[in-house]
Subunit: 282 residues, 2 copies
């Protein structure tokens, strides 16, 4: 098992990528994360490793994508453990920059915005969240980009459906050379979508959180109407529903729960906000 090289500066990461492509590596894959890696991340890391000659995982808790009342300060940071886990997956490079390295001098003057598409659904409760996430991923894509002759892929989970769609739009709208590869949701045996924030759940809350996936399955299976599904989530103890909607998976426009539509749910379980989604079978 080879330890990944941990790069803390943009220059160092670029040198490491360039050295590997100069030595014959023919593809580069990037998995952007905020660390606190769980089995969901590791499955994507495994895929990044398998599909690319150079596997890069970034670990950066991005202040721009946290709102004022959110958990930026308390978000779990465990770089040593993350690096150990990524070593087991034979990742080549870990990019773990400081906030000052990513945003020298503070908040960037020029940044990325997703306008109206980033202000609905998750964006409605988290103003600025998607702009922050797009701003940092835009930088990561430019930093890691190995150049015209080397295929470059970036991996995003389908769990953050709105984020995935906006990343795909950014790649197209900004002419990034990267190919976005979506990765299916990883779930616990009981169906809970894996998330770093699941750490915040008490065992009892983790039990209540199962209602999200169970309800999506019932909705996707046609056993519940949208209204019944909403009532079922809302009736679960300690669970407070934010939204449960079905949307067009390409545009995120709200639509009927028809075959092919994407059902999206967001809820607080105790003080912890969770999201999940599921396609309605075509």
């Amino acid at each position: 098992m080879t330890e990944p090289v941990v790069c803390t500066t943009v220059a160092q990461l670029r040198e490491e990528v360039a050295a590997r492509t100069a030595a014959g590596a023919e593809s580069v894959g990037l998995l952007p994360t905020m660390g606190a890696l769980h089995a969901g991340h590791l499955q994507i890391a495994r895929r990044t490793r398998a599909e690319n000659d150079v596997a890069v995982v970034s670990v950066f808790v991005n202040p721009l994508q946290f709102g004022p009342g959110e958990d930026f300060e308390s978000y779990p940071r465990q770089l040593e453990q993350d690096v150990r886990l990524l070593a087991q997956e034979r990742v080549d490079l870990v990019f773990a920059p400081s906030v000052e390295e990513m945003y020298p001098g503070g908040t960037p003057v020029v940044s990325v915005t997703s306008g109206a598409a980033g202000a609905v659904l998750e964006g409605a409760t988290r103003p600025g969240h998607f702009d922050g996430a797009l701003t940092v991923v835009n930088k990561l894509l430019t930093i890691v980009d190995p150049g015209p002759r080397i295929p470059f892929r970036a991996y995003f989970g389908e769990k953050d459906a709105q984020q995935l769609l906006l990343m795909q739009r950014m790649v197209r709208d900004f002419n990034h050379r990267v190919e976005i590869r979506p990765v299916p949701i990883v779930r616990s045996e009981q169906g809970l979508a894996l998330s770093s924030r699941n750490q915040y759940l008490s065992p009892e809350q983790a039990g209540h959180a199962l209602v999200l996936n169970a309800t999506l399955r019932a909705l996707a299976g046609g056993e519940l109407t949208l209204d019944e599904a909403r009532r079922r989530v809302a009736a679960e103890p300690e669970v407070s529903l934010d939204y449960l909607v079905t949307v067009d998976p390409d545009t995120l426009a709200v639509t009927e729960p028809r075959p092919g539509a994407l059902a999206l749910v967001a809820a607080w379980v105790g003080p912890t906000r969770l999201i999940d989604n599921m396609r309605i079978p075509a």
Copy 2:
């Protein structure tokens, strides 16, 4: 004299750049323009040619940087003449995409914003202008970028001082690999800063427009106070002053007319908006 290759698609331009670097070209220079090339552009094109193995000039009238009441429809378009002029300067590649090629499906969902820094000075009278200019240049930089091992430069005139500053910030904030090379203002013999919009001036208006440069010179030479300078511009027939300020050249924050400061002027001459600027000698 070799004709430049005129590329109308992103893919074609990328292929042409990649073919040249694969054949040994060791640097690439980009001059972004909206066409209607005048002697000011051509001087920058000459420098782009002299300093790079591959010289690229983009000619694209970018709808995003025009406001609702502005001259997008009537902005001069003369690609054939532009290509002839660029051939004389031995430019290798002209990138002249359609609006649909740059913005497939219409206005981009994800775009670039300069926030407060783009809302003052020129931005105050032209809401959205800088965001539009940044959005298209961000795309051009990513499209032309020849990859890690090839030095890449982009050329911007100092005439659009605020634009130059914001482009430099974007390159830093987005980690673009390009080096921005600023190019001094080119002037007519009488001192008028060259601009495509000078085409709109009657001979008489062109005469009145000389007050801008003459006043900046007097201000920079300490012959006029800021208030006297403003009155002088405002007193010129057919000239309506928008702003005449001195700013810190690194931040655009308004400052006293002290040595090293940048004096910026914007005025309408008849219906035509003109800008100019000059450093106060240190």
